[in-house]
Amino acid sequence: MTHLPSRLAKVSARDVNVHYGEKHALKHVDLDIRANEVTALIGPSGCGKSTFLRCINRMNDQIENAHVSGALTLDGQDIYDKGIDVVQLRARVGMVFQKPNPFPKSIFDNVAYGPRIHGLARDQAELDEIVMTSLEKAGLLTEVRDRLDEPGTGLSGGQQQRLCIARAIAVSPELILMDEPCSALDPIATAKVEELIDELRENYTIVIVTHSMQQAARVSQRTAFFHLGELVEVADTEQIFTNPQHPLTQGYITGRFG
């Protein structure tokens, strides 16, 4: 396993462990996530990939008995440092969830919510600008331009998920975490979201958890394979899928288990 120079690593994990009460969910994970790349986390259910993802924006704080140890840094800054403000951290690290979860508000308000709470817009014009740009970047603007006042929950599943991506982008994060963003979508909507992920890579660093190996192969540049809470192998996506080093990885990608 090669360690990158920290200059290249957006997120760097060293010996990260997560316990849920008695359960050791994530074991001694060392992983670097490079800037402006899509990193896919794959592995069978319960392998700890979502747990790792939720460590990066401290969503695990929400879980009563979760305990995280080890060093996890964002741009060299310790994410679990006492001085870190979780609110600020989450403004820098956006998240898109498994099930599209737009707020039961208008499409506009969905996207505007983040900028509003962080005070990113000085006036309505700026806010409009942010919302439009975010919808544009999420490839949704042409579809919803005429109905920004309608509830976001009235959109189709795929549109809702892109709305959630627009909502995440609106806060101008540096890193976007995606937790199986396409698992609730049909193939066409999935294709659109994947296309979007590829475009977003230019400006954002993306970490995506996926159950679909094809998806990992399509959208990511690097892939990390987790198994039973351990990071088994991380390498360029091409290498993982063509020439896996570890027998477990090979077994998983060839469909022998998982």
Partner: protein, 425 residues
């Protein structure tokens, strides 16, 4: 797949037959189950109809009141001397000049209510120029006359136990023949305070008392209840203390309401020295009764907000408080409000705890502030039901009807508020 019509093994066929026989039994059981449920609903509805029919058939007549027309000589001396009751008596005596003895005169005056002078006062206030003239005036009949006109008491002369004397029955017949008796909409019932005389007794004091009490209940219990529910559900650490508090809140919901009345008596009246019989204290006691209901309903509503909405807001960098105020609370509001209004409707019908803090007193005045002594609707029902006069029977049912209208209006408000604030996700 083999051809099923020919190649079904015997064992398979047997199990199919068994299943078919079993299926019939299952359908029969299902039909029985449905019939029992339907029967229960029909029985409940039957009782409800019976209850409503009893109340309405008893109470509807209370909304009409008998009036008697008498020529009143607005004698300036009597008016200036403020002897309006004397004016009432002399007016009815002029109508029946043959009456002379004192006892006959008393019986004659008994046709009219002891509050009939209020009708003269009202006529004078409406048009002061009638002073010194003689005008026909409709005046409130006494409760016995009213009952006789509505057919609740006998108008058959000579019967034992008659409320009206034979002479009164005859005078009433004469007045009726002259078209001087009629029933009018009973504005007294809806606009006056309580009275010992049924024909003068009204619900308005109790209505105002109930409105004051419920306003205070709402003002106290809603903010407290919602704040408690939000804190317990969203912010409180899950430890032994919060578990203890939760158990106690659930227990409080089951405490008999009269106990809250005793608590109110001990704390609000005896310790804090608040006024007796006041809607302020009534409202505070009812707020204590409502609180567990509101907290439990509020927590259920908060719990029902999907976690995905919280995660979405947290993921955007919303603080815990922003998640609650911007997302969770608005989504839980319909549920919280439904719980609150159900709690309030419960409070509207509470009687026992209010007896404890003296709201059972006989109060004639309409309360002007929540600090004035007052009755409330259910207590008024209780007081009237306890009164011996025949005319209070129909008025009790009428008071129940007014109480039910209030309850219906509150439930309607609950439904409308829920519809208005309901949002889908």
């Amino acid at each position: 797949m083999t051809d099923t019509s020919t190649a079904v093994p015997a064992a398979t066929r047997q199990s199919i037959d068994t299943a078919a026989a079993h299926l019939k039994r299952r359908y029969r059981a299902e039909r029985r189950f449905k019939a029992v449920g339907l029967g229960a609903i029909l029985l409940a509805m039957g009782f409800l109809v019976l209850l409503l029919w009893t109340i309405i058939s008893n109470g509807a007549s209370a909304f009409m009141q008998t009036y008697i027309r008498v020529d009143v000589t607005f004698d300036a001396a009597a008016i200036d001397g403020d002897d309006l009751p004397g004016l009432v008596k002399s007016s009815i005596q002029q109508r029946f000049p043959a009456v002379e003895s004192r006892s006959e005169k008393r019986e004659l005056a008994g046709l009219l209510s002891s509050g009939a002078d209020l009708d003269i006062r009202r006529a004078l206030a409406a048009d002061p120029s009638v002073k010194g003239t003689t005008q026909p005036l409709w005046m409130v009949a006494s409760d016995d006359v009213d009952m006789a006109m509505k057919g609740y008491v006998s108008r058959q002369p000579g019967l034992a136990g008659n409320r009206l004397t034979d002479r009164q029955i005859a005078w009433l017949a004469e007045l009726e023949a002259a078209g001087a008796v009629k029933k009018r909409f009973n504005t007294i019932l809806l606009s006056s305070g309580d009275s010992r005389e049924p024909e003068l007794a009204g619900l308005w004091g109790a209505v105002v008392g109930s409105v004051f009490s419920l306003a205070i209940t709402l003002l106290v219990s809603f903010p407290l209840g919602v704040a408690t529910a939000v804190y317990l559900e969203e912010f409180a650490p899950k430890n032994r203390w919060t578990a203890l508090i939760e158990v106690n809140i659930n227990n409080l919901a089951a405490v008999p309401s009269v106990v809250f009345g005793l608590l109110g008596l001990a704390i609000f009246l005896n310790f804090l020295g608040m006024p007796r019989s006041a809607p302020l204290v009534g409202g505070l006691v009812l707020a204590l009764i409502c609180l567990p209901t509101i907290i439990i309903a509020g927590r259920a509503a908060l719990k029902a907000v999907p976690p995905s909405i919280r995660e979405a807001a947290l993921g955007l960098g919303a603080s815990k408080q922003q998640v609650v105020t911007d997302h969770v609370l608005p989504l839980a509001m319909p549920g919280i409000m439904t719980g609150t209004i159900l709690g309030m409707a419960h409070a509207l019908g509470e009687t026992a705890p209010l007896l404890m803090i003296g709201m059972v007193a006989f109060i004639v005045d309409i309360p002007a502030t929540p600090l004035d002594p007052s009755a409330v609707l259910p207590v008024q029902v209780y007081l009237w039901a306890d009164s011996p006069e025949r005319a209070f029977v129909e008025r009790t049912s009428a008071a129940i009807l007014v109480l039910l209208v209030f309850l219906g209006a509150m439930n309607l408000a609950a439904i409308m508020l829920r519809k208005k604030f309901e949002r889908r996700w």
